[in-house]
């Protein structure tokens, strides 16, 4: 079973679980009501779950409120406030689901200008593709997906540039990290050698103090980067990130590989497979889920790191987190725009992260012996 199949199967079972849960609730409620009618349980036992669930829902809503509030601010347009003259507003300004039917307004009256400001123009420029040997060429026409000026946005944010910078930092980080951690985690998982426990122990310890140590070393890292002229160099930043990503991800991948039954390898060795074939044809295919999880974590680490990037990069090379932070120091940026920027930065991250948590990390036991 491949990784994709296992993920789709899990998503399907998750979706199927929703109606089943609703039916379950309904039956349970009927059962409880029946018991109550027959006088087997008192009023307290009947109502306690209702009140408890309501309380838990209230608790969860309070905890999640800051996130909702940011979305609210982003969707309410310029100068929005939660507490306006009309009292507490829990829905975006101008929000009216009715508009979806009457006017076909997909956004139901919400103000999306802040998001337009963040994204800016989306224009695929016209390209001239020359066809060899014929002398002629095809000129594609310019495709305008979104033009900020049409929405009254004068100077859009540098979001796309920051995103590009983040991408060009995160991708080399992933490649370098994967290159060193795959062999290391295989060796740590399967072989016995000198210093093995010490290395593992050191890696685990570092994952706990890494944040503080990284910060403490910031002074020296900055000095070294300056001395070698590496400041404002995205590639060197990526090298630094991937070095820092080694301990945790080696350990994570090692624990994934631990869950692969050794009997597969033994079978391959008996059939005469050389060591590199054992790794290439057994270990790597079976640890796909682990590799995917590690890849995502390393990528997100490069995508989200703030402190070092803020210290060494200059504005033209700002990554997204640094760009976000730069916005709050500019008092001219309205809160709605800031919120939209923050949401567009965080939403993909949280989706990918939670996806990885739910469907990949827990998928480490897929395809056991039945495979």
């Amino acid at each position: 079973m491949t990784l994709i199949q296992s993920i789709t199967r899990k998503i399907k079972s998750d979706i199927r679980a929703i109606p089943a849960a609703i039916v379950g609730w309904y039956r349970n409620t009927q059962y409880k009501l029946d018991l109550y009618r027959r006088g087997k349980i008192g009023t307290l036992q009947l109502l306690a779950p209702v009140f408890s669930t309501a309380g838990a829902l209230a608790l969860v809503s309070i905890l999640m409120f800051p996130v909702y509030w940011i979305a609210l601010a982003a969707l309410s347009g310029e100068g929005a406030s939660l507490y306006s003259a009309g009292g507490l507003q829990l829905l975006p300004a101008g929000f009216n689901p009715w508009l979806l039917i009457t006017e076909g307004d997909l956004w139901m009256g919400m103000d999306l200008t802040p998001f337009v400001w963040v994204i800016g123009d989306l224009i695929i420029p016209s390209l001239r593709i020359s066809i060899p040997f014929t002398g002629s060429s095809i000129v594609t026409s310019e495709v305008v997906l979104l033009e900020a000026a049409n929405y009254g946005v004068e100077r859009p944010s540098a979001f796309k540039q920051y995103a590009w910078n983040s991408l060009t930092v995160a991708i080399p980080t992933v490649m370098m990290t994967m290159a060193v951690i795959i062999p290391a985690s295989y060796a740590l998982s399967r072989k016995e050698f000198l210093m093995r426990k010490k290395v593992l122990y050191g890696y685990i310890l570092f994952t706990q103090v890494g944040g503080g140590l990284g910060l403490a070393m910031l002074i020296a890292v900055f000095a070294i980067f300056s001395a070698f002229g590496w400041t404002n160099d995205k590639f060197m930043l990526a090298v630094y990130y991937s070095a820092m990503a080694v301990p945790f991800n080696t350990w994570l991948l090692k624990t994934f590989m631990d869950s692969i039954p050794p009997s597969y390898e033994e079978a391959a060795v008996i059939d005469g497979a050389p060591p590199w074939r054992v790794v290439w044809e057994i270990i790597l295919p079976l640890s796909k889920a682990g590799l995917a999880a590690v890849l995502i974590f390393v990528f997100l680490a490069g995508w989200m790191e703030f402190i070092v990037a803020q210290t060494v990069l200059r504005p033209e090379n700002y990554t997204l987190p640094v760009g976000l932070f730069a916005l709050i120091d500019e008092y001219t940026v309205p809160w709605a725009r800031f919120s939209a920027f923050a949401l567009l930065f965080a939403a993909p991250v949280v989706v990918i992260y939670l996806f990885a948590q739910r469907y990949i990390e827990s998928g480490l036991s897929f395809g056991g012996m039945e495979g």
């Binding site: 969860v60 910060l215 002074i219 020296a220 989200m304």
Partner: protein
């Protein structure tokens, strides 16, 4: 000597046992060297810097000799930086507020985390799994996003959520970041929100291991909710929660972003947590030597704390398989 002799000799040659047995180490070494070169070299340089009076002005000047190449015009001052820390009032203030922050935020995180976990595992609550999936959302959010958003929550501007909330109850707006203890409270609230998902996950898995029979038996004996929590639940979740508390205490001690983003440890440097103190000494007041000394002191403390915690607790479980 004929060629075949050489071949024979090479064939006969067997690598020494220690080499063949530890050959796999070669797979680990590239990563280890890569990692160490970005930790050991800066760390050594940091130690060196902490023994000099380096400032931004002197550090990057070219000076003759090996010393000059490495440290520029900075001079060797021995342990002066550490000695001056001992008489620096700001160091003690920063140190004190850091430990206070560790204490208050850990208590807050444990109470909040265990509380949420207890509510979201209770048999009366319906839709527990869905709510648990929702409630750990902060874990997936980028730290800088969460912290800038919470800065907005405590903002004194019109949109500030905390002030709007107070306003709804008829209170006056508060300038959260310009009053010392209010700023400290805002740090704690933010840190709690950042870290509770971790506590919830650990506690939920511990709670699910508490056997229902124990609760039933206690109920039959007439124990109320409070008593059952104290005598049945607490003993069973104590160890995992302790373990999580140690880790989260270390995270609190290393907190930097919250004060940095909120108000740079203000007002008037009253809330500079230790790492922020070192950072500001170096990058804002240009005293790289002194900043290095502060940073080294801080990581020595956290390193010792973690080593003690690891040997006493079961932190290193993964390494002892």
């Amino acid at each position: 000597m004929a060629t075949s002799d050489v071949v024979k000799r090479v064939r006969k040659y067997e690598a020494p046992r220690w080499l063949t047995e530890n050959l796999s180490l070669a797979l680990v070494l590239p990563g280890l060297f890569f990692f160490l070169s970005f930790v050991a070299i800066p760390l050594a340089y940091l130690i060196g810097l902490s023994l000099t009076n380096a400032t931004l002005g002197t550090m990057f000047q070219d000076a003759p000799g090996l010393w000059g190449t490495v440290f520029g015009e900075a001079e060797f001052v021995g342990v002066d930086n550490y000695a001056s820390l001992l008489t620096d009032g700001q160091f003690y203030r920063s140190f004190g507020v850091t430990w206070l922050f560790v204490a208050t935020s850990v208590v807050g995180k444990v109470v909040l985390g265990v509380g949420i976990a207890v509510v979201l595992t209770h048999h009366w609550v319906r839709g527990k799994r869905l709510m648990r999936a929702l409630v750990i959302l902060p874990m997936g959010l980028p730290a800088i996003f969460t912290i800038t958003v919470w800065r907005g929550v405590f903002s004194s501007a019109r949109f500030g959520l905390a002030n709007q909330f107070l306003g709804a109850f008829g209170f006056e707006s508060i300038a959260w970041f310009s009053r010392r203890w209010l700023a400290f409270v805002s740090y704690n609230v933010t840190e709690m929100w950042l870290a509770y998902p971790f506590m919830v996950i650990i506690t939920v898995s511990a709670l699910q291991n508490v056997s229902g029979e124990l609760h039933e038996a206690a109920k039959v004996d007439g124990a109320g909710f409070i008593n059952r929590f104290r005598h049945v639940t607490m003993p069973s979740i104590k160890r995992p929660v302790m373990f999580a508390s140690i880790l989260t205490a270390a995270a609190s001690f290393q907190q930097f972003l919250i004060p940095f983003v909120f108000n740079r440890g203000g007002p008037a440097r009253a809330n500079e947590l230790i790492l922020l103190y070192g950072y500001r000494e170096a990058f804002e007041f240009r005293a790289f030597g002194e900043g290095s000394a502060i940073m080294l002191t801080a990581i020595t403390i956290i390193g010792l704390f973690m080593i003690v915690a690891a040997t006493k607790g079961e932190l290193a479980e993964g390494a002892h398989e």
